[in-house]
């Protein structure tokens, strides 16, 4: 029955490929409409990807996108839309920065302490939405959007010099973290430094796959996402599952800002990257919630981000990249649904055909063996 496997791979790849192709074509149309060369900007951006310093930037950026997208994906796998990853990671990064500036333990304890702070802050923030959903039936979409706004205010408050803030010129910071909390990067010479916590992103990706596909909990979570009613009948407590998934999602989200915080800025300031949580939504969509897919999607996004500034030097607008990101998300949603339905119908047809042809599992010993050896 190899062909059903092959087919699954084909279906998994077809969606993104169609979406990307459509997005490229539409972006080219936008360029033509504005009277520009529709091909040159892409060749400039592709060329950028060959420079090692840009590559380092892409990898560093992608690591944060990856973690944020994993956080979103956990929610997606059980039909929860955690749109609040943005607030969760910013607040978590700030708390980690504050703890890092005030506590000074040996590195072996300091770094785990900072990671734990970030995880707990993120989980706490998403947990509020989870509790509201479970106890009062508040939609997690609404609650997490509101919590994003509240997080912004909380951050503004914590930045006050009378609270934890340290003014550096015109910039609000949380003060420099103690060096024991800095995570050393991989020195790439002139190209720069790859954040040490890129490995954390990889580990999280592996853990995500293992938990979802190889544990009882992961099965329950996926079942809840596939059919809430069937999951409940199978013995999953839907409320507990909502809360757990929300906490997990927020906990991972809390880590999204740490690669840059512990690897580069060492303080939470006005310059700290924002919006990663929202980009994570698009990346999780494009990556089909699969750890490998998300990795590709995160790299693609980071490439669009880091290669586009060069366009300004060639008389193109770098916003082309943003338009493209938007178009990708749009075409992803459409193409995935179309491919999913097409795949389902196609399989039904093929199963029908196989049965009609007498290829029934267990019909005779030969086919059984063949299947068993799959």
């Amino acid at each position: 029955m190899k062909k059903f496997d092959k087919e699954r791979v084909l279906l998994a790849v077809a969606g993104p490929v169609i979406a990307l192709a459509v997005a490229f074509v539409l972006s080219a149309i936008v360029l033509i409409a504005s009277g520009k060369n529709p091909v040159e900007p892409f060749s400039i951006m592709f060329e950028q990807a060959t420079f090692s310093d840009i590559q380092v930037l892409i990898i560093n950026q992608a690591s944060m996108y990856y973690i944020a997208a994993l956080a979103v994906a956990i929610g997606f796998r059980m039909n929860l839309f955690n749109i609040g990853v943005d607030g969760q990671y910013q607040l978590a990064a700030m708390m980690a920065a504050i703890v890092g500036a005030h506590a000074n333990l040996p590195a072996a304890l300091q770094i785990p302490l900072l990671l734990l702070t970030a995880v707990c802050t993120g989980a706490f923030w998403s947990g509020i939405a989870g509790v509201l959903k479970v106890t009062r039936g508040v939609s997690e979409v609404v609650a997490t959007i509101m919590l994003n706004a509240i997080a912004t205010s909380v951050i503004g408050y914590l930045w006050l010099p009378t609270v934890f803030g340290v003014k550096v010129g015109n910039n609000n910071t949380t003060g420099e973290m103690h060096e024991s909390g800095w995570v050393p990067g991989i020195d790439m010479g002139d190209a720069g430094e790859i954040y040490g916590l890129v490995f954390l992103a990889v580990l999280l990706g592996i853990a995500y796959w293992v938990v979802l596909n190889r544990t009882r909990f992961g099965f329950d979570l996926r079942a809840s996402g596939a059919s809430e009613s069937a999951a409940a009948a199978s013995g999953v407590d839907p409320k507990r599952m909502v809360l757990t998934a929300m906490l997990l999602s927020g906990g991972i989200a809390g880590l999204a800002g740490l690669p840059i915080l512990l690897g580069d800025t060492h303080t939470y300031s006005l310059n700290f990257p924002t919006g990663i949580g929202f980009l994570g939504i698009g990346i999780a969509l494009l990556g089909r919630n699969s750890p490998v897919g998300i990795a590709f999607a995160a790299l693609l996004w980071a490439w669009l981000d880091k290669a586009s500034p060069e366009l300004d030097f060639h008389d193109y607008d770098k916003e082309i990249a943003v338009i493209m990101q938007g178009l990708i998300v749009l075409s992803v949603v459409v193409s995935y649904e179309a491919v999913r339905e097409w795949g389902l119908r196609r399989q039904q047809r093929r199963v029908g055909a196989e049965l009609a042809a007498g290829h029934v599992l267990g019909a005779d010993n030969n086919t059984t063996k063949e299947v068993a050896g799959r």
Binding site: R214, T215, G218, A230, A232, G235, D237, R346, Q347, L355
Partner: protein, 522 residues
């Protein structure tokens, strides 16, 4: 004069039985029954006639004129009307509002429409009151509203899709009177059913459909239920009858004064008390919506009792969550397998894990054991004759009967002590039905206690050791399946009879009593 003539209709369809070279001629002013087992292709055919689907080949002629429908609107213009099995009425609107909804242009929405509704109602003896709220109406009255809705739109040919499935025998008789009224006024009715007794009593002509093609037509006067049934299934009929009693005196599940309330305090279940012993099948009869779903939910733990207790052997499980109940040996064949029994887009082997994720062979500690689960799925597929090319295909690509066999196999594989079987053979073909009955009987011999809920009275009477009737959330009557007839059970299902139902021997009954055995053609 022919009202409808279908010739050479063929419809190819993924995975399921399609229509193949179908011929059907309906004369004006007659009731024409279309019979066939579930999944034979009746519904597809009617969807084609009603314009919901286009045939790949073949022609449709209405009143001798060849037509081509691209939507139900086209069919309605030609005088075709459909009464669906599941009513399409808005509960919070009045009958009048429901009838005019979407056809406001015909007679407006006011006095003229009301007059028209009354006129139709009187003419065909439907007894519909235009100003009642639909939510106040019973099932039979709702069905009459649906029929009126179709007539209001000018239908001259009515398609009724399994209209008796939701009715008790007495209501069925009333419906048949309505149908006779319709045909005496020159309208034609296409009556879809798999209940042969009903078909023989109401139809003027019968067309039998099997495996997607018409296998013959019959006239009721010249045929017997047995002949019809054999045309339908093309072979000897299975029966649900169990041979000898295996009931023991060891109680497995004991429910005492169970009460379940809706939000607001209205009782959904009240004072439910019963005991099922090892080796016993307790059948629950009742019109759908009288608390069966809630009873199942309370037993499997999806809803928790507001008062009363449930005991499994000698442990009280009233407060247990669903998972614990399942781990401790409560098997569950859900009423709606798509909503509660399967992950449609997941492969078969993941569906084998569903509901038993904490048990062997699916898990080792907190880890899943996909290899063992896959291995065991192959065993189930073979032992329960699930027709599939492999265990990696999605559950959605199997036919209903095969999905159900997978569920039965899965539940039986965990050696349940108590099995909840809600409509275990609904929507499955005759072969699968017989197999499922066999599995239940076999497990019962080995000491399984079964709660059987079914709308198929023959199945209930045939499989059960004890029968109870549920009405309005209460168990109102009990009966001995060895002597009771579907008609007697039916009157208790409307709430007309309570207590212990005794079979009364009347001359009419003696002729009927031979019927149930032959009537199980589904």
């Amino acid at each position: 004069m022919t009202a409808v003539e279908l010739a050479g209709i063929t419809k190819r369809f993924p995975g399921v039985v399609a229509n193949h070279d179908i011929h059907l001629t309906v004369r004006k002013g007659t009731v024409h029954a279309l019979v066939g087992e579930n999944g034979a292709g009746k519904s597809t055919l009617m969807k084609i006639l009603y314009g919901m689907q286009k045939p790949d080949e073949g022609t449709i002629a209405i009143n001798g004129e060849q037509v081509s429908f691209s939507s139900p609107a086209d069919a309605i213009v030609r005088g075709i009307g459909m009464v669906h099995q599941h009513f399409m009425l808005a509960d919070n609107l009045t009958v009048l509002e429901n009838v005019v909804l979407g056809s406001e242009k015909l007679h407006g929405i006011g006095a003229k429409a009301r007059r028209r509704i009354k006129e139709i109602s009187e003419r065909y003896g439907l007894g519909v009151e235009p100003d009642r709220l639909v939510e106040e109406l019973g099932v039979a009255a709702r069905q009459r509203v649906e029929i009126l809705k179709v007539l209001y739109r000018g239908a001259t040919t009515l398609i009724l899709d399994e209209p008796t499935a939701v009715l008790v025998p007495q209501e069925v008789d009333a419906l048949f009177d309505n149908l006779r009224e319709l045909k005496s006024e020159g309208l034609s009715v296409i009556f879809i059913s798999h209940k042969l007794g009903e078909v023989l009593s109401v139809a003027d002509e019968i067309t039998v459909i099997r495996r997607g093609t018409t296998v013959g037509t019959a006239v009721p006067a010249e045929t017997t239920p047995k002949q019809l049934a054999e045309m339908m299934v093309g072979s000897e009929l299975p029966t649900p009858e169990t041979a000898e009693s295996t009931v023991t005196d060891r109680p497995v599940i004991t429910v005492d004064k169970l009460r379940l309330e809706a939000v607001g305090g209205k009782a959904l279940l009240d004072d439910i008390t019963f005991t099922i012993h090892a080796g016993e099948v307790l059948g629950i009869a009742g019109v759908e919506g009288n608390g069966q779903t809630e009873l199942v939910d309370a037993l499997i733990g999806l809803k928790h009792a507001d008062s009363g207790t449930i005991k499994l052997i000698d442990e009280e499980i009233t407060a247990w969550p669903t998972r614990r109940r399942r781990e401790q040996g409560i098997g569950y064949i859900p009423e709606d397998r798509h909503r509660h029994g399967l992950l449609l887009e997941a492969p078969l082997w993941e569906n084998r894990i569903l509901g038993h994720v904490t048990e062997k062979p699916n898990a080792k500690g907190v880890w899943l054991d996909p290899k063992a689960a896959q291995q065991d799925t192959r065993r189930i597929v073979e032992a329960y004759d699930v027709r599939t090319p492999g265990i990696d295909v999605t559950a959605a690509s199997l036919s209903g009967g095969n999905q159900q066999k997978l569920i039965v196999g899965r539940e039986m594989s965990h050696k349940p002590r108590f099995l909840i079987a809600a409509h275990p053979t609904r929507g499955v073909d005759v072969g699968a039905q017989a197999a499922i009955w066999d599995h239940i009987r076999e497990a019962r011999r080995e000491g399984l206690a079964v709660l059987l809920i079914s709308a198929d009275l023959d199945e209930l009477i045939g499989l059960s050791d004890t029968l109870r009737v549920i009405y309005n959330g209460k168990l109102v009557a009990d009966a001995d399946p060895a002597t009771i007839t579907p008609e007697e059970l039916g009157s208790a299902m409307t709430g007309a009879a309570t207590g212990h139902l005794e079979h009364e021997e009347t001359p009419e009954d003696t002729s009927r009593s031979s019927e149930p055995g032959e009537d199980e053609a589904r």
